[in-house]
């Protein structure tokens, strides 16, 4: 199951050139771009690992594409996304977020039903990938 999170997730995978153009848009707007990766694809997982610092003072998006490719070398079998932060409000708010790398196999999510008091059912989803310990997912 293809993970649909962030922008452009219903489009085919972005090429390096597409990524560059998108990141350049963010940089031209004055937003800081950064690269993050994770192997826990749950939609509520807000703790992706940072790949280096956000790029606050790079005028050209080639730097971001370079870091994306460096991150792919190290974490090519995980999810990698590009973020754009806007600090103009006084705090860092995410303006853009899109996935630029995904594992070859995406096993998708399992729906878990929990029986509560009475006949109440609680629903939750769990990624099949996270059944494996961290680091062993998406081998």
């Amino acid at each position: 199951m293809r993970l649909r999170q962030g922008q452009y997730s219903f489009l085919p995978d972005l090429s390096d050139d597409d990524i560059r153009v998108q990141a350049q848009y963010a940089i031209d707007k004055g937003w800081a771009v950064s690269v993050e990766y994770t192997d826990d694809p749950h939609p509520r997982n807000s703790f992706w690992e940072m790949w280096g610092h956000p790029m606050f003072d790079t005028p050209d998006a080639a730097a971001l594409v370079y870091e994306v490719n460096e991150c792919r070398k190290a974490h090519g079998a995980k999810y990698i996304r590009v973020l754009a932060f806007d600090a103009s409000a006084g705090w860092e708010s995410i303006r853009m977020s899109f996935i630029v790398n995904r594992p070859a196999e995406e096993p998708g999510f399992r729906l878990v039903r929990q029986e509560g008091e009475g006949r109440m059912i609680r629903y939750t989803i769990e990624s099949y990938a996270t059944r494996e310990p961290e680091g062993a997912r998406y081998a």
Partner: protein, 317 residues
Amino acid sequence: MTTEPAAPQTGPQTAPQTVDLAAAYEASGVREVLKELDDTMIGLAPVKQRIRETASLLLVDQARRQLGLATETPTLHMSFTGNPGTGKTTVALKMADLLHRLGYVRKGHLVTVTRDDLVGQYIGHTAPKTKEVLKKAMGGVLFIDEAYYLYRPENERDYGQEAIEILLQVMENNRDDLVVILAGYADRMDRFFDSNPGFRSRIAHHIEFPDYSNEELLKIADVMLTEQNYTLDPAARTAMADYIAARRGQPHFANARSIRNALDRARLRQANRLFNEAAGPLDGTALSTIAGADILASRVFRGGLDVDRKPAKEAAE
């Protein structure tokens, strides 16, 4: 009547059959950069010649690209060699502008660094530092001043080697993204290239900056003063010419930079003179004229820097 089949309709895929170089030259705005270079930089004839050649090479390359004859980006990394104060940084700025106008770099900014900005202080510090600088320079030109300091053969555990390896890798793989210009004194750069053959082969353009002649330095002094709304009176002009001739023979002579420092000190003396002598109101001419005495007071006329360092006994008198 021709028997040949009709030429294919010009669509987005078909390459044009001819290219107007003169029109491309006008459209790219290279003319302004070259003119600015000619107007603002005094002397440096061989450098200007090389830059003009490089500009035409790039224009022709661009034209070939339009005709579908060239695909590879030419190697644009350069090395500027010359003595201090010969205008290497200024020319690098112009070069960045030129490459930007020709579309070889996307942003055209210049990032000037030295060894300190690239090499870290402890293990594992160098690579992120170098990469950070390289990322900042992407889309523009990275100017590494005194590049030979990167390589310290006397210390085999020096982290400079690590910076060099990353630099070489990015220079090769990200040729479309940034242009690297190495600068430094000619002899030490030669030794640097000899010990790092990878660099020499990755740098296509070696440009040598000659020293300025005395007349050129005098002209440079004039330009510098005009920019600051100062003028030399005739006596000061003669004194300046003598100053340049005398300064050249003394240690730490740095061409245009020495002239700038000399003028800064002359302005200081002029201000001091005006302050001490002025009895009444001063007009604009008095405030902006540097007199002969302001320059003749320089220690260069008394034998150079050594005069200042008198032995302690003498200085105490």
